[in-house]
Amino acid sequence: MLSVTNLHATVGGKEILKGLSLEVPAGQVHAIMGPNGAGKSTLSYVLTGRDGYQVTEGTATLDGEDLLALAPDERAARGVFLSFQYPLEIPGVPALTFIRTALNAQRRARGEDEVSAPAFLKLAREKAAALKIDFEMLKRALNVGFSGGEKKRMEILQMAMLSPRFLILDETDSGLDIDALRIVADGVNALRSPDRAMLVITHYQRLLDYITPDAVHVLAGGRIVASGGPELAHELEASGYERYEKAAA
């Protein structure tokens, strides 16, 4: 699925990723943990093609296709989805309009027919109910005036509607209380499947109690400095990142 080799990237001329390598096979969930400033968000933006994140060396492929050569929307059409740490507010665009525009743009890019309005609304009702999102909220401007938890649920709703193949969750647990965390985790777990893979980026181990990863990687100083099973997350929770930060320095 995702294969990253020796990735170097700069932001504003400063090197943030310094030779990051990572393999996430289809069907698996991998967690990336690391201290603040390690490059976790940079990794998510580099993989999704945000302006200002310059790749200077290395490769990133999805099922063998060079991701880095594609525009952000082309990556999305191939199934790359980023759940934002800070979801954007889009004044004037109802959530439903935003999601339908995105879904149809992806479908057109893949040469598929656009989804009909009734079929879209049925799907939206179903997915919103599963995430305990009031359907009326989807008629309001996307994320405008939503609480932190509502925004995160809205990200998961978009994920469920767009049905991506490779999911990146950037600090999805931040700002969530325990009930919201469980709803979000259930939504994410419902998307686990043999032909999907996920990268769960988190600072804390808490989220991984609900979304059990197949592997945990420690990102420090712009590189993966340790990898292990789910137990690695618990060990980090107990002992902190200091050891790895020293190793990366």
């Binding site: 999704t48 945000r50 302006d51 525009a71 952000p72 929307d73 990556r75 999305a76 059409a77 989805f81 980023l82 934002f84 979801p87 954007l88 507010e89 889009i90 004044p91 004037g92 665009v93 309009t97 935003f98 999601i99 525009t101 995105a102 879904l103 743009a105 992806q106 890019a109 401007a141 978009q158 767009l162």
Partner: protein, 341 residues
């Protein structure tokens, strides 16, 4: 100094120029070296207007021929489509007089439709009696080669309600000006505008509101999207005269510039001579929000789709304020077509 006298006398010296403070961004003297001859009458079918289906009465003024008279008797309601059509390379002046009686309501849907390199002046007067209500929706689709100046003088009586939305795609040089004499007395005024400019289009939305009595409200929201080498001008002046206490006036102008060569000039002015007033204004000019653009693209929209979605949303906040549902839909569709072009 006005375009109408210049056209009448075929004298370019009478054109407003950049030396007139009010016209410094919409210089006609420097643009027009020679006034063209008077426009000939328009031959043939003038087609349907975009608002024709919403109204009972349709008035067409083509190449300045005829004056439009709209009189709504007290207590009655009228729906009128008023089309100013310019189809020539000549010069012409058109006019309209609108009177709305006490407690009467007028829904006026006004369009400017152009073809050719004309020079056109349109002069309108609106007189609203006590408790009269007017919703004026203006769609200005002048031709890229046309020079057009539309000037409206509005006088309100107490408890009158005048709500205006001007949506324009500009012209070679275009100005849409509205001057309102506001008596206070619980009369309310809304003056909204949208300019969507591409290529070398120029649009100037100028408004002057004079609050002369206590207890008046004015609300104003103008938004613009300019790209290529287009130029948008917004001049909004609200004067609150001495003694016009408890005036509540809000003015907002916000523009998005989508290219390095596009330009927006804005001059919001509040002149307040009364003591007890609530006045606010906001003015912003900038690019589309990069974060929001990336967010939309990460969800699968290409650059053009993301631009269109975000700019439609941006101006949608103005269009949403049109009261009349069907007219709002016509305007929204017209604007969307221009943003997606």
């Amino acid at each position: 100094m006005s375009l109408s006298t210049a056209i009448r006398d075929r004298d370019v010296a009478q054109l407003p120029s950049r030396r007139d403070e009010d016209w410094r961004w919409t210089d006609l003297r420097g643009l027009i070296r020679m006034l063209p001859p008077p426009s000939a009458p328009v031959e043939g079918d003038l087609g349907e207007g975009v608002f024709d289906e919403l109204v009972r009465r349709k008035i067409v003024v083509a190449n300045g021929r005829g004056e439009a008279l709209i009189e709504v008797p007290a207590g009655e309601t009228a729906w009128v489509a008023l089309r100013f059509i310019s189809k020539s390379d000549g010069a012409h002046a058109a006019s309209a007089r609108v009177t709305v009686g006490a407690g009467a309501t007028l829904h006026l849907f006004e369009t400017y439709e152009g073809e050719g390199g004309y020079v056109a002046q349109t002069t309108l007067t609106f007189a609203l009696a006590e408790g009269a209500a007017v919703e004026r929706v203006v769609l200005a689709a002048d031709s890229p080669g046309g020079v057009s100046v539309s000037q409206a003088e509005v006088s309100l009586a107490a408890k009158a309600d005048f709500a205006q939305t001007v949506v324009t795609s500009g012209g070679r040089r275009q100005r849409i000006e509205t001057r309102v004499a506001h008596p206070g007395g619980h009369a309310s005024l809304r003056l909204d505008g949208v300019y969507l400019l591409a290529d070398k289009a120029h649009a100037d939305l100028t408004t002057v509101v004079t609050h002369d009595g206590v207890d008046g409200t004015t609300e104003q929201l103008t938004k613009g999207v300019v790209r290529d080498q287009a130029r948008g001008v917004f001049q909004g002046r609200i004067i609150v005269a001495e003694g016009a206490d408890r005036t509540d006036a809000k003015m907002g102008h916000h523009a998005v510039i989508l290219s390095d060569k596009a330009e927006v000039d804005a001059k919001p002015e509040l002149e307040i001579y009364a003591d007890d007033v609530a006045c606010a204004h906001g003015n912003t000019v900038g690019a589309l929000d990069e974060d929001a653009l990336f967010y939309a693209r990460q969800r699968g929209m290409n650059q053009a789709e993301a631009h269109a979605l975000l700019t439609e949303a941006f101006i949608g906040q103005v269009i949403d304020r049109i009261d009349q549902d069907e007219a709002r839909d016509v305007v929204r569709a017209w604007a969307a077509e221009r943003l997606r072009a």
